[in-house]
Symmetry: C2
Subunit: 230 residues, 2 copies
DNA sequence: ATTATCTATAGATCTATAGATAATGC
DNA sequence: ATTATCTATAGATCTATAGATAATGC
């Protein structure tokens, strides 16, 4: 059996031995905090509960984090960062090498995919009242940047009737909300391909694209993403 | 001045006199709890904080409610109930006296309006993790009924391409989420007519309706609502 | 010596109950 | 007598710090 005892790190051993997590203690804590924050909320999660889930004593958390807030900040950033990075690359290609509709479709695909894969569905954390405090302005700014991109691409992609009726800011709010539908879906159960497809298509239709235009945009998105792919 | 001293009720007077609220003590408590739950979350709101906001002592809450849970249940129900009632009346008119698209438009208008007017934006409470517990099954069932109605009306109203691509359940999830965009908008600031219009139009477009069909549905919704009006 | 944990605990809550009290209403 | 409040408080947390300890690494 390949029971490799990973390079034992210095420090007093845990009262309850580590189990087999390959994660650093820091990441073990973040993972436990994420699961509990999502399930019970932030204030309802005690530092003791987090520690218990990790398998260490409550006080030991403070060696790694200043407190729950500190953990939260790190969790929040991981939940937008990936979309944001792809997005920054994407927008620069419009309209020279990509249509706005194609780029929007790609954005939605990426964002939905990121949210669908996020550990413990931490996208839900954004909805919690604690996160509305100034303490998290930095994170909210990143999310706003994402929303603005939705607004810009959406307005560019929009059919003239939609563009006339809905301002970019409003459209951005609606589109990001649509993409985030996936968060709610995950709450209720598994997210299937058909769910993702439905969300992407709805975002495009929200901009006034018809069935043919939707199909075109998706095709374009697929190749765009293949080009940017990791 | 019409400073009518409302019929003084029996009971020991408050240490800090009532101010001028026309609400019953029970409703004063609900109102304070709503504001604090929305702003800080449920667990982060102490019974002491609620009492303080009302202007009574912490222990006095327990004369009216068994605890925070008890208040929450009541708040949640007020936030769906109104939409639900109108909705039950609405659906029965399809397709005899109303088209599905017209009825869907009416549903969205009502729901958005209800959420836009709800005191302290208590629609946000639904998003909190505490509400996912079984304790609130009853409430969640009502919300599911609303979602199902969105799914049924949406699928009936849908253009054949959309109907083929998106199942009623999924469509219901997407549409209710769209309507609830108004909750997020309220978080950021005032909700304007243009916001409501944008949401209603987007729901219809999500079903594959084009500009002309959207306009028709809205017109129909207006007269439907006039007929059901309070 | 450094690192990562541990044990112990102070101080600050927070919830919910017991029992007293100050009004009204009969 | 009934009602709606009050005061006081027990018991259960919960957070964050101080200081000890058991490893590794030099």
């Amino acid at each position: 059996m390949p029971s490799d005892d990973r390079p034992a790190r210095p420090g007093r051993p845990r009262a309850v031995p580590n189990g087999d997590s390959a994660l650093s203690p820091r990441d073990q804590i973040l993972d436990a905090a994420a699961a509990l924050f999502v399930e019970h909320g932030i204030s309802a999660t005690s530092t003791r509960a987090i520690a218990e889930r990790v398998g260490i004593r409550q006080a030991s958390l403070y060696y790694h984090f200043a407190g729950k807030d500190d953990m939260l900040v790190e969790l929040l950033t991981t939940s937008v960062r990936p979309s944001l990075e792809v997005v920054r690359g994407l927008e620069s290609r419009v309209p020279s090498s990509a249509s706005a509709a194609g780029a929007l479709a790609a954005l939605v695909v990426i964002d939905v995919e990121t949210l669908a894969r996020t550990p413990h569905n931490i996208g839900t954390l954004y909805l919690l009242p604690e996160v509305q405090g100034e303490r998290y302005d930095g994170f909210r700014a990143e999310r706003t940047e994402l929303q603005d991109t939705y607004g810009r691409l959406g307005s560019l992609a929009a059919d003239s009737d939609v563009a006339a009726a809905i301002s970019p800011v409003r459209l951005g709010g609606i589109l990001i909300q649509l993409a985030e539908t996936v968060i709610q879906l995950r709450r209720d159960g598994a997210v299937e391909d058909a769910d993702r497809d439905a969300i992407v298509a709805t975002c495009l239709r929200a901009c006034g694209l018809d069935t043919a235009a939707v199909a075109d945009a998706r095709r374009e998105a697929a190749s765009l993403l293949a080009a940017v792919a990791v």
